[in-house]
């Protein structure tokens, strides 16, 4: 009698695909500096997990956002709190900083080893786009706690594009959903943060990894 895996494997042929990924040889000169992209992806997994857990309690409305954040933090009078919520929020905040640092370091490594040279130009372009998306994640997430710092930082941040001639005012209104930062802005940033940016990022990350698999790691100099 075959073991359960070989029963599945004989039907779906999993091990062939598994071998193609796991048994491929690596070029010479792959050091620990080549793990930086992996660390960035790992932080993304931490952010996804903690983000989903936080979203069980967080309510993105002007009247509820601050209260639910205090509930998550355990800072509400009367002691009501989300179990372990403070740690989930702390991990989410610090993993976000860690991810920006890891993405930047990964870009620097790719730059120094000249790994974006032909034939890998397209993967560099996808990677730089992912860097921009990472920054957009940070910018949109900063408003969500809806405290003084978040509100006024977003007021300043969304006022910046309004200085662009002709289209600036329109961009600012598009970001804010009106002339001022309001509950509409909060909902827009929330939708950006949990739906639009993750969907685009997943697609681009799939492309990023798929291109690495097709082209191989560029290797040491």
């Amino acid at each position: 009698m075959n073991n359960p895996f070989s029963i599945i494997d004989s039907r779906l042929n999993l091990s062939r695909h598994y071998r193609r990924i796991f048994e491929r040889p690596l070029p010479e000169g792959v050091t620990y500096f080549y793990c930086l992209g992996g660390i960035a992806f790992f932080f993304l997994l931490v952010l996804t997990f903690t983000g989903v857990v936080l979203s069980f309690y967080y309510v993105p409305s002007a009247s509820e956002a601050y209260k639910t954040i205090r509930f998550i933090d355990g800072g509400l009078p009367g002691g009501a709190s989300m179990p372990g919520g403070w740690l989930m929020r702390a991990l989410h905040v610090w993993a976000a900083s860690g991810m920006v640092a890891a993405v930047t370091a990964h870009m620097l490594r790719v730059y120094i080893t000249g790994s974006y040279k032909p034939p890998r130009e397209l993967n560099w372009i996808v990677g730089v786009t992912l860097f921009v998306l990472t920054m957009a994640f940070g910018f949109s997430g900063y408003l969500l706690p809806w405290d003084q710092k978040a509100y006024w930082a977003t007021t300043v941040g969304t006022a910046m594009p309004s200085t662009i001639p002709l289209v600036g005012h329109f961009i600012m209104q598009l970001l804010r959903g009106g002339d001022d930062v309001s509950g509409i802005t909060l909902l827009r940033f929330y939708v950006m943060h949990v739906y639009i940016l993750p969907l685009v990022s997943i697609f681009l990350l799939w492309a990023h990894f798929h291109m690495i698999r097709r082209q191989g790691i560029s290797g040491g100099l």
Partner: protein, 126 residues
């Protein structure tokens, strides 16, 4: 096949999982010691001078050097130009050599950008 040749499994995967474990321990320790502080509730009448996250400080500092009608230079034109330069990197470098010493001009530009970002970030604290 060369016996010293690394394979994705187990060599590379092990290295990645090891550094990920360190990364997880790092954020766990920092999160435990420095949990984020939630500020006071939004007060629309009390204008408050905010500071963005550390990775936006360079941009925020540059904004200060372009007052009035020139503001869009610091906010949009310069950042967009730098971003475009970064996107276009593989097409701008003429040499096919990957060594930094064969790409001196590119390395100089990269160093100037990197140092500017660090200097602007530091200046934003004063």
């Amino acid at each position: 096949m060369d016996k010293n040749q690394k394979k994705f499994y187990p060599d590379y995967l092990f290295e990645i999982l090891l550094v990920c474990l360190f990364a997880l321990e790092g954020v766990l320790i920092i999160s435990y010691i420095f949990p984020p502080v939630t500020g006071s509730p939004v007060d629309f009448s009390r204008n408050f001078l905010p500071r963005p996250e550390w990775y936006f400080l360079a941009l925020y500092q540059m904004f200060k050097y372009f007052p009035g009608p020139l503001a869009f230079l610091g906010v949009a034109v310069i950042p967009a130009a730098i971003l475009f330069l970064i996107f276009a990197l593989p097409f701008l470098e003429k040499t096919h050599s990957r060594r930094l010493r064969d790409r001196k001009f590119s390395a100089l530009v990269a160093a100037v950008l990197l140092v500017s970002a660090v200097v602007l970030t530091v200046l934003s604290y004063f």
